[in-house]
């Protein structure tokens, strides 16, 4: 989002105060029924409140106890709704800033779109635009809706969407034809065909997603809800039947203590935080400037088995760079380096600059002072396929091997074994040989190669540890592709890839049960993006690509797939960790409540009171209070997410089991004891 909203902390008053308000509104049972565990808690809270009122009216001695239990049961519900409200809070703030970007847009609708050159238009509100309308957008106009540029070139400020203030070029045709409503044209003009209905535009979708208005439960969330509902039902059975078993044993259990037992046993911790975890996950994604069209896609990202990455721009810098100078025919390293440096001084291409940098940094050649020498630069042309320099009588040329051979007037078989060997070994390693000559003499070869981005190999290794295979897709020939693949450390590659091959590859992998993620920006990527389980389209890409994918990366950075995968995993891990914690908690709660309930009937059961809680009443109240407070205590974890480490599943599991399983077993023993000490210390029971 825009950089101003990015920095809002969840725990700033700007989020917390409205969240408190929302938390109360969310108590509406019609809303809560979506969350069975908390819904049951609310019903129980109502029942206990009614009992408390009865106790008050009859001046019963137990009113103090039932009142406090009722209070803490309400807190339990409130803490759960508060967690969700906080998670939504930051999204709301972000949505607000987006909404500001799209208020009061007007469109200049072309009256005669089919007449070229006719720019006569009428001004209508953007809400009245239909799909297929053509609008003209001029300097300083806001683009009224999502669409496709059909004429013109303009620079567009998209910071309202991407947070990136540098303008981007939008032009008709090609991969940069998509524009987004709410962005601003800052030079020239564009003719745009509108492609979405008002209210369904990209910004609208973003707002909807961020606010969670359209948030549907993801498949895994549904499965987990079923587990939690099942557990709730099991404990309901256990508690209701306990009434009968206790009656047999001569104990008349009150509804209040049974209610307390039920609420402490059902998984309120994870039940209360479940939706907050999902919302916070989407929110984290948005802070990475990625918009997912559904939570399902984010979850699928955690499951991805294979990552399809384009070579150019993702794995390599996209420009070939000089990596070595190979002299031939007795020419010294230094002499060759000097010659190519001279020939490249005026070469402003990336290749030329890389030659200068290599000569200067690796070969320690100093460039001559410009003014001192009479120099003629020969620029590269597609016809000659040569560039070079005429300086102080020296004619230095560099270029493709054939062109340079022609320049020196030699056939390939006259070039000498040394030269041919160097050229071939470069080609074999996937590089491009650049021949260098002076007058009629071959000086050597420059090894140009596609340079792999630093650190990318480590990222792939991390992905491998996560269990994710990376596959490089490239238009290069298989030899070049293999060389780069091995240098970058990808697991596999697809050379000379056409869009159809890409699609076939995805289908083949999916048939084997694998989940595929890929990113793309071009229209020809669209079918593959749609077929992939996680398709990340670049914001800079075409409208077709953006609609085919299920995520849009506003920064248009392909390596971000790795972060997306991590966020997907984090969401699942956080759910699992809190579920485990919640279930493990129950052991301690039994040890608090069961002896408290039956110690009057069977004094021997006092031996189960291993926490040494002060009295049966304080024990029950402490368990209820702990159960409520733990929700609040875990809100930060739910929002931040459990940290993902790429260490392999077994190691990750044992680590998390230790923290959340064993921790969940031990923590409540300590927590309930502490609460009990405070409760008895204050004398409120």
């Amino acid at each position: 989002m825009s950089t101003t909203t990015k920095s809002i902390s969840v725990f700033s008053p700007a989020i917390l105060v409205p969240a408190l308000h929302d938390a109360v509104i969310k108590l509406d049972p019609r809303q809560l029924v979506r969350n069975p565990v908390i819904f049951v808690t609310e019903i129980v809270a109502v029942v206990v409140t009614v009992i408390f009122i009865q106790d008050l009216l009859t001046s019963s001695t137990t009113a103090g106890f039932s009142g406090q239990i009722a209070l803490w049961l309400w807190f339990t519900v409130l803490f759960a709704t508060f967690a969700e409200a906080v998670a939504e809070g930051r999204g709301k703030a972000q949505a607000e800033s987006l909404r500001r970007a799209k208020t009061d847009l007007f469109a200049k609708k072309l009256l005669f779109p089919d007449k070229p050159g006719d720019r006569s238009s009428e001004v209508i509100p953007s809400t009245a635009l239909k799909i297929g309308d053509v609008v003209i957008v001029e300097v300083n106009d806001l683009i009224p809706g999502d669409g496709e540029v059909i004429e013109g070139v303009a620079s567009v400020n998209e910071s309202a969407i991407t947070g990136e203030s540098a303008p981007v070029i939008r032009e008709a045709g090609g991969d940069r034809s998509a524009v987004t409503g709410g962005t601003q044209v800052i030079s020239d003009w564009l003719k745009i065909r509108i492609t979405t209905r008002p209210g369904e535009s990209f910004v609208d979708r973003m707002i909807g997603l961020i606010e969670g208005a359209k948030r549907q439960k993801t498949p895994n969330e549904i499965a987990l809800s079923i587990l939690l509902s099942g557990l709730t039902l099991i404990f309901l059975i256990a508690v209701v039947t306990l009434y009968g078993l206790a009656a047999y044993s001569g104990t008349d259990l009150s509804a209040v203590v049974l209610a307390a037992l039920l609420v402490t046993l059902i998984p309120t911790t994870i039940g209360g935080l479940l939706s907050a975890i999902g919302i916070a996950g989407m929110d984290r994604l948005i802070r990475f400037n990625v918009i997912a069209t559904s939570g399902r896609a984010v979850e699928a990202a955690g499951d991805v088995d294979t990552l399809l990455l384009d070579k150019t721009g993702t794995i390599t810098f996209g420009n070939r760079m000089a990596s070595e100078f190979i002299p031939v025919g007795g020419v010294s390293d230094k002499a060759l380096a000097e010659a190519v440096l001279l020939s490249s001084l005026a070469d402003e291409t990336a290749e030329g600059r890389s030659i200068v940098a290599l000569a200067r940094d690796e070969y320690r050649v100093t460039e001559p002072p410009h003014a001192a020498i009479a120099t003629t630069f020969i620029p590269f042309s597609a016809q000659t396929r040569l560039s070079g320099v005429d300086v102080e009588g020296r004619r230095i040329r560099k270029g493709s091997v054939d062109a340079v051979l022609r320049f020196v007037g030699l056939d390939r078989d006259q070039a000498g074994a040394e030269f041919i060997k160097a050229v071939e070994s470069i080609a074999r390693s996937g590089g491009t040989p650049l021949a260098v000559a002076e007058a009629d003499r071959l000086l050597g070869v420059v090894h140009l190669k596609d340079v792999v981005k630093p650190g990318i190999k480590e990222r792939f290794a991390a992905l491998r540890a996560m269990g994710i295979r990376t596959v490089m897709v490239t238009g290069d020939n298989p030899i070049t592709a293999a060389a780069i693949a091995s240098e970058a450390g990808v697991d596999d590659f697809l050379a000379e890839a056409t869009p159809e091959q890409k699609l076939d590859f995805i289908r083949k992998e999916q048939t084997g049960g694998r989940l595929i993620a890929m990113c793309g920006d071009g229209t020809n990527d669209a079918p593959a993006l749609a077929q992939a389980d996680v398709g990340v389209a670049m914001q800079s890409g075409t409208q077709a690509a953006r609609e085919a994918g299920n995520m849009v990366d506003l920064d248009s950075s392909p390596t971000k797939l790795i972060e997306i995968v991590e966020i997907g995993k984090q969401i699942l891990m956080t759910r699992g960790a809190l579920t485990t914690f919640s279930i493990a908690n129950d052991v301690a709660k039994y040890f608090a409540i069961i002896p408290a309930l039956f110690v009057a009937t069977y004094p021997g059961l006092a031996a189960l009171n291993i926490m040494g809680l002060a009295s049966p009443q304080s024990a029950i109240l402490s368990a209820v209070i702990f159960n409520a407070l733990i929700i609040v205590a875990l809100i930060p974890l739910a929002l931040r997410g459990v940290k993902y480490r790429p260490v392999g599943a077994a190691a990750l599991l044992s680590r998390n089991l230790l923290i959340y399983g064993l921790g969940g077993l031990v923590a409540p023993f300590v927590g309930i004891k502490l609460v009990d000490m405070i409760v008895t210390g204050l004398g409120i029971i």
Binding site: L245, G467, L572, G661
Partner: protein, 569 residues
């Protein structure tokens, strides 16, 4: 506890484990439809059966059709057995001239044997004719066991297969389970039992004159054969009412070893078959380890509690060296009683060689708890395997999330549908056990059949419903179960415990079979390592413990502390 006691426990378990591999491999071949060394003899018989019944063995069933076959077949068995019991007065092989079995008892008994529970509200030697025992009960001992194995194999295939609806053919699975597995083993074990001194005849009771000159009626019959299938099929219904404590059912230490080995053998070996069939033997061993670890711990607790004995008796001046020997047979000794108690309840066998009601409170808690854990350690033949797989699915779901992937087990993704069905299956036990126990505990018709009031009485009821719902069949004793209320409700509990579990389990199988099998990667949570063994034990304990802890606290746990405080019931 004694060293020699632990050595015996160790030897029996090792013998069973040694059997698991060859028997498991053999069964894997049988249920993959491959040829075995028994095929030359049995294949014509098998083909003959299919011809007779019009079954085409290559016709595989989907989950609905398979489930329907299981239910229809069991219903037919139920009706047939009910009819035999009601009509036994006019049927042959009735040397004692027993009349028809009362309707509620006949219902209870019929359900009991069809569900592989073998809860015995009847006293075999004084109620049932030889025909009822052989054509009725023994037949169901085979068929109910074979049904369990068949269902387990259908579930196993769901893990092996990918994108299909076919789970196998129930009739073929049934036939092969009976013909290739149960029958040959039963013949071998029955012969061994005869060699060890068990009676095998079709005689009427005979009357003996004791040394004091009194007349004693001694019942015999086809004991060895019924004993063999009783244990192999984890049925547990003895020929005699006191089951394997009776000197004719279990005359000596060696017959006792064979009893335990026979009941463990198939259930344990089926787990191995599962590993073999899914192509991961380590998975089989992992699940076997879960079983063995929990059985050893359970046995240890019983062994310890029983040798420690009852402090009240110590105070009364009894010889305390042997511990609590009330209700036990001295010819087996404490360790073999403990192992038998743990194994018979960890399995859903239910035969007993000691009276569980007479165990110390903690000693009695263990068998009850082992049943409440869902009869998966290793559980009844077949039923134990599919029960264990439901727990594995739960464990994978809860913990598998913690590795950051949609949980998957053996390459099958565990999603909402599987969770829903697994929870349905898991809910059955607490619903039936706690529901019926609570009603019985507050109603006159429930409380009056109790022998001992107080927490022990609650244990009697709780044990009865636990045993019925878990299709175990062992009785705590004390409770007079042969009343209309208990005959009916225990019958319902047994049916729900069996079929209300099988239906969702087969539905899970159907759903899993339809999914593709995802290849494992280093991001997949491995389910064949010690970590998973520990995890699944934790899930089983927490699920079982959390559901039943309050009930247990009011029964055996309260009784234990009362005993320490000098009070007995």
């Amino acid at each position: 506890m004694t060293i020699i006691g632990w050595v015996q426990i160790g030897l029996v378990l090792i013998a069973t484990l040694l059997l698991a591999k060859p028997l498991g491999l053999y069964m894997a071949r049988v249920f993959s439809g491959e040829r075995t060394w028994l095929s030359p003899v049995l294949s014509p018989v098998e083909t003959g059966f299919y011809k007779l019944a019009g079954v085409r063995r290559e016709d595989e069933q989907g989950c609905l059709s398979y489930t329907f076959s299981v239910l229809a077949f069991s219903l037919a068995g139920l009706l047939a057995l009910f009819a035999i019991l009601r009509l036994q007065g006019v049927l042959p092989f009735n040397p004692q001239g027993f009349g028809p079995v009362a309707p509620d008892l006949a219902f209870n008994t019929a359900v009991s044997f069809v569900t592989n529970t073998n809860w015995q509200n009847y006293a075999g030697e004084s109620t049932l004719s030889n025909f009822s025992q052989m054509a009725g009960l023994t037949v169901q001992n085979f068929l109910s066991a074979a049904t369990g194995i068949a269902v387990a194999m259908a579930v196993t295939r769901a893990f092996i297969r990918s994108k299909t609806s076919a789970l196998g053919n129930f009739w073929v699975d049934m036939t092969r389970a009976t013909l290739y597995v149960l029958l040959p083993l039963a013949i071998i074990v029955a012969l061994a039992f005869v060699a060890l001194g068990l009676p095998q005849n079709l005689d009427a009771n005979f009357v003996a004159t004791t040394l004091e000159g009194a007349q004693q009626t001694i019942a015999t019959g086809p004991v060895a054969s019924q004993e063999a299938i009783k244990q192999l099929g984890t049925n547990g219904g003895g020929f005699f009412n006191v089951n394997a404590a009776h000197p004719f059912e279990n005359p000596n230490a060696f017959s006792n070893y064979l009893n335990i080995i026979a009941m463990l053998s198939i259930s344990l070996a089926l787990v191995y078959s599962f590993g073999q069939m899914v192509g991961n033997r380590r998975q089989g061993w992992a699940l076997i380890s879960v079983t063995i670890i929990m059985l050893v711990v359970g046995t240890g607790v019983v062994f310890w509690a029983e040798t420690a004995g009852n402090p009240l008796l110590h105070g009364a001046g009894l010889d305390v060296a042997m511990g609590n020997f009330e209700g036990k047979e001295v010819r087996f000794g404490q360790s073999m009683n403990a192992l038998y108690a743990a194994v018979t309840t960890g399995l859903s066998d239910g035969g007993v060689n000691a009276m569980h009601s007479s165990l110390t409170p903690l000693g009695g808690l263990v068998p009850m708890f082992l049943m409440q854990l869902g009869e998966v350690l290793p559980g009844g033949v077949g039923s134990g395997l599919y029960g264990m797989l439901v727990f594995a699915i739960l464990a994978v779901f809860v913990a598998g999330l913690m590795v950051g992937r949609t949980p998957e087990f053996m390459g099958k993704k565990i999603e909402a549908r599987e969770m829903k069905l697994a929870m349905l299956a898991i809910l059955i036990l607490p619903f039936v056990i706690l529901g019926f126990t609570a009603i019985s505990a507050v109603a006159e018709f429930g409380v009056s059949p109790i022998l001992t009031p107080g927490p022990h009485g609650l244990s009697e009821i709780l044990y009865a419903f636990t045993s019925a719902a878990g299709n175990n069949g062992s009785a705590f004793g004390g409770l007079t179960g042969n009343t209309p209320w208990y005959n009916t409700t225990l019958g319902i509990a047994m049916m729900l415990g069996r079929f209300a579990y099988i239906v969702p389990v087969l539905a899970i199988a159907g759903s899993l079979a339809a999914k593709p099998r995802v290849p494992a990667s280093s991001g997949t949570f491995p389910t064949d390592r010690p970590l998973f063994v520990g995890l699944i034990i934790g899930i089983i304990l927490i699920m079982g413990g959390l559901q039943f802890f309050p009930a247990l606290a009011l029964g055996p746990i309260a009784e234990h502390f009362a005993m320490l405080a000098g009070q007995s019931f």
